[in-house]
Amino acid sequence: MLQTPLRTLSRHLPSTDVEGVARQLAAVMREISTSPDQQPQEAHALARASVLNLVVYTQDLDAAQRGAETIGALAGLHPSRSLVVVAEPAAPQPDLEATVTVRCQLHPSGGELLCQEEALLTARGAVAQHLGSVAVPLLIPDLPVYLWWVGPPPPQEEELLWVCHRLIVDSALFPDPLAQLGELHRLTAVLASRQRAIAFSDFTWARLTPWRELIAQFFDGPETLPYLATLRQVRIECAVDPGGTALTAQPLLLASWLAARLGWRPRGIEALADAREHLLTFDCGERQAEVRVAPRMRIGETGASGEVRAVELVAGEGDREGRFTVARTPDGEHATTRARLAGAWEVTRTVPMERASLVDLLRGELAILRHDRVFEQSLAVTARLLP
């Protein structure tokens, strides 16, 4: 489905201002839509079918390149205008450099030209501190603005937070996930208190979606649902490189999600044995529940370090015990699930569970705009894990 663009046109503006960028975008759009091989058979209005604005923020040129490629792969899927901002706040002179690109492709059914407009902006010096003023004139009005923030969570005073409707981060890139997920939680609170209703999302949270779905699915039936009330032990296995820790953003968020949904209150977090295993403990009414995060050496396996590999939930005891497991298969493309109710039945199955590529993840995030309250509530639990 991701075809290569039919036509791409680019212009480089070594040193410019916002108006210059806007003028170039319009000029390139005009040029590309009237080039000679685009013969309008019928007078079809060139509808710019844009559905959103996307702003990517990074301080790293490589990341900007990757971001631009990811967006490029979405050409035709999400007609949009995007600004990829490389911030160089430490540069001595304020300056704005831009490359403007328009990629168009013919809609599969012919006739219509779908275009994606992109400006790669390098903002130097003081310009990097006032990105709101750069972005606003370049955004298509009335369409939602997604801010994809590459790196640790943005500071509370970042101007771009004032223009966006949805903030997308990737907590897998947080060097200290426990602390920085807490920071992200505080940012949600600050923005809410300033009446900024920004929706938050996280690629790493999105990577957990199939895990959450498969875990939730165990308890959809009336026979299994009661086991949630006696859930007492969870074990999350996480892929690590030799010497790494298993306490990455993925297991933290997964455990926090379970706790948030089941009303467990965090008690604390404890490093076990050689400090590579961790025990998260929770109060749930009279009972206690624990989540053990354990490493699994990543030797000759596919997939990234820090990724959840298997989850086991144990509820009840003796002839009322229920064991529910989800595990990624070694081929990396499937998951097997097993539900075993002592004294009753056991069912296993295999379902597809591909790793989502960055393109898939971005596409997924861009498809929604509403707040993910469950994510925000899970973040709040993570924030309370740290004493």
């Binding site: 009336p222 298969t329 097997t336 295999t350 379902v351 597809p352 469950v374």
Partner: protein, 521 residues
């Protein structure tokens, strides 16, 4: 739109707290699906591929179980092998994923027997109880009638006699899906409803019309009722007329025995086209729930003005194709298709003019047409607006301008297109009609699910919004039956259109008399 539809049915009770906020809000609860006619064409082409696709998309629970029932003596293993071959051939995602199929097929079972044998239903009941114990299907049952329609009444009766209409546990549900055709005229439809209702409650009954499962048909509702722009002009003041076209380029494809009995009116108009008509013309429902939506739809069907006995000619055209050419291929006449009578009076084309007698639509004609062997396959609803009341630009091309047209294309290339006038750039006031197209595929490029996937899932979730209610079926039949009876009183002069033409010439004159023209889609 899907978010608005998650209202849990009365039958759903305890809520799984882990479900909240998941993007897959709609996955099915554990249940066993009994397919009567489990080895038939529908099961192979549509049901099993749809179920496999639901499994691939993780929309089915691990406990999900199928029990196929038909005459042929097959073991569970043989049934699985047959179904594997069918899914391998008909699934919309290829190739088949072995590990997923292997695990999914562990939940497929088969029982052989005769549909009218009461003993067989005892065996079904015993097998279902066993599956509850071994696979956790929780007493939830979905009976799917995929047999020849003549068997529907007996299956329903036998299910009742065997006590299979209630689940074994207080919280378990039992539902029945009835394939189309639902009756062959008003009388048989009423009889079938009567039989069904003597055994099941209406809320357990899901009459399938797969058109309603199509994504774009549902989009019609979203388009009408979630945009403030259209509703104010969606009435007789602004709309000149509406054309609904369901054109097929294929002929009857080895289904002669069925088609000789049915014909265009029964096959397409009574079911699918009246459903489209109802969605286009209905009043906004108070909520998006099964009964509120269907209440409004049935009001439309009830408001269709009956055709006076002696004026069938003014309101209907029927046709049958003769030999001709389609897409560079020669096509035989209907009467030369294998299995068709040489003097068959069966219509393969039908056009109707309808009026909906209510405040919104009084005197606004709705033209419906459907035919086989038309030049191309297309389903669309065209809303033709009235001309602007006063033409300012008459000398500058204004008088040839077409009035505004809103086109809702259902297939292929689902989308919406609006025709309006615009100024040709330059110093003079030259006008031209332009189209503004919105293609669903370009704004949201996700694979649309097949209609059966959507409908099976809805049924497992207890959402009957996209299924036909008893009164809808009867209203539609009431109208169509009168027409059929009128037609039967005269012998038609068939064939009257060539394969590859847009229907009989009479159909063109039919609109010309009203000063209108059929669109060429």
């Amino acid at each position: 739109m899907t978010q608005a539809r998650t209202t849990p049915s009365v039958e759903e009770q305890a809520i799984n707290p882990l479900r909240e906020g998941l993007r897959l809000e709609r996955t099915a609860p554990p249940c066993a699906m009994v397919i009567f006619g489990g080895g038939g064409d529908l099961a192979k082409r549509k049901l099993m591929p749809a179920l496999y696709q639901l499994a691939l998309n993780r929309l089915l629970p691990a406990e999900f179980t199928v029990l196929g029932f038909a005459r042929s003596p097959l073991s569970d293993e043989e049934f699985r092998r047959t179904m594997r071959a069918a899914v391998g051939e008909f699934s919309r995602t290829q190739p088949l994923r072995e590990p997923v199929w292997d695990s999914f097929s562990q939940g497929l079972f088969y029982l052989s027997g005769n549909l009218d044998d009461p003993q067989a239903y005892q065996r079904i009941a015993a097998r279902l109880d066993e599956l509850d114990r071994t696979r956790g299907t929780c007493g939830n049952r979905l009976f799917y009638l995929a047999t020849p329609p003549s068997a529907f009444p007996v299956i329903v009766q036998r299910l009742g006699e065997a006590g299979l209409t209630q689940g074994p546990q207080p919280q378990s549900w039992v539902r029945i899906v009835i394939e189309k055709p639902f009756g062959r005229d008003l009388k048989t439809a009423i009889e079938l409803n009567h039989t069904v209702r003597s055994v099941f409650q209406e809320r357990q009954v899901y009459r399938i019309d797969h058109y309603l499962g199509k994504e774009t048909v549902q989009n019609l509702l979203a388009f009408r009722f979630s945009n403030g722009l259209w509703e104010p002009v969606w009435n007789r003041q602004y709309i000149d007329h509406v054309q609904i076209t369901v054109a097929e380029s294929v002929g009857i494809e080895n289904r002669a025995s069925y088609y000789e009995e049915a014909g265009a009116l029964r096959d397409m108009v009574q079911s699918h086209m009246f459903q489209l008509l109802a969605l286009v013309a209905m009043e906004p429902p108070v909520s998006f729930e099964a009964d509120t939506v269907r209440d409004e739809k049935v009001k439309v069907l009830r408001a269709i003005r009956p055709i006076p006995e002696d004026r069938f000619h003014d309101f209907t055209v029927r046709g049958q194709y003769g030999a001709g050419w389609i897409g560079g291929r020669e096509a035989p006449a209907y009467r030369d298709e294998p299995g068709v009578a040489r003097d068959s009076p069966r219509e393969t084309y039908a056009a109707l003019k309808l009026f909906i007698d209510n405040w919104r639509w009084a005197d606004t004609p709705f033209y419906l047409r459907h035919g086989k062997r038309l030049p191309k396959r297309v389903t669309e609803v065209a809303i033709q607006f009235k001309r602007a009341p006063h033409l300012l630009f008459a000398e500058s091309g204004g008088e040839q301008l077409e009035p505004n047209l809103l086109l809702v294309r259902i297939q292929p290339d689902e989308g919406i297109s609006l025709r309006f006038a615009a100024k040709v750039p330059g110093p003079t006031m030259h006008l031209r009609s332009v189209h503004m197209d919105f293609l669903y595929g370009s704004a949201f490029l996700v694979d649309a699910p097949d209609a059966y996937e959507r409908l099976l899932l809805d049924c497992m979730l207890g959402d009957a919004t996209l299924f036909t209610r008893n009164d809808e079926a009867e209203q539609a039949w009431a109208y169509v039956t009168r027409l059929l009876e009128g037609w039967e009183r005269a012998t038609p002069d068939f064939p009257n259109y060539e394969a590859g033409a847009w229907g009989p010439e009479e159909a063109d004159r039919f609109l010309e008399r009203d000063g209108r023209r059929w669109r060429v889609p």
